[in-house]
Symmetry: C2
Subunit: 143 residues, 2 copies
């Protein structure tokens, strides 16, 4: 018998024109079973337990496929490489989910942003991601 999860997976694949391969099904189930913010290596290790011959490249490719299909998100909406913040004024960021370009938005301007979905520069707002920055309990103890 097929699980409800597998049925849901096949549905999503059909919806996005994806082949429902065994590797993808296992990857999907593994991701659903994980908590936190797993890295590709961690996911790979889990998938490998069920498909020892799976390749890391396949895991990477399909994580991207899933993200592009909207089946999962990635934690950081930013580019992969280090970027230096050279604007010292309080501000936040507009991040394009397609090209990953980043532009600044003043703090006060963000405050006005409750309703409008499209900004004056044409940026179409989809959602907000808030990072609360600080020090975790463990790091406070160490210092």
């Amino acid at each position: 018998m097929k699980s409800a999860l597998e049925a849901r997976f096949r549905e999503l694949c059909a919806e996005h024109g994806l082949a429902a391969t065994h590797q993808r099904l296992v990857l999907f189930e593994v991701l659903q079973s994980m908590t936190g913010h797993p890295s590709p290596e961690e996911v790979y290790a889990r998938v490998r337990k069920r498909i020892p011959s799976v390749s890391l490249a396949t895991v990477y490719k399909n994580i991207h496929v899933f993200i592009e299909s909207g089946m999962f998100r990635e934690v950081s909406p930013h580019h992969g490489s280090l970027r230096v913040e050279v604007n010292e004024l309080p501000h936040h960021h507009l991040v394009c989910v397609v090209c990953k370009s980043i532009s600044d938005i003043d703090e006060w301007e963000l405050g006005l942003l409750k309703k409008p979905k499209r900004l004056s520069d044409g940026f179409l707002v989809e959602r907000y991601a808030v990072d609360v920055l600080g020090r975790c309990a463990a790091c406070q103890e160490k210092s």
Copy 2:
């Protein structure tokens, strides 16, 4: 004569116990003169114009030194490797600026977070970073 910027740089170095080397001064001035969110390679290219013999390793090392000293910030508080978001409920993130660990905070819980500086799990809140996610004008035209 020394510029005000150089004086400020020497002050900051003294404050953080750093040697005020020529390379660091130039890096500092270059960063101050840039806009946007430059990558280490872009910064390196600019520094190189003034110190052709500078190494990329030195630029990397000192960008980190500056970030650790609080002289500059990095754009993404959790850059590094790809992480998959497996929590489908609306939530945001608590990011430790020291160890970069990420934990989830419910959307409703974030709403209550106007005043408290320390959360029940010991996390000490320093600031917020908001990413407004969406599509930039250019990417909307392309699709």
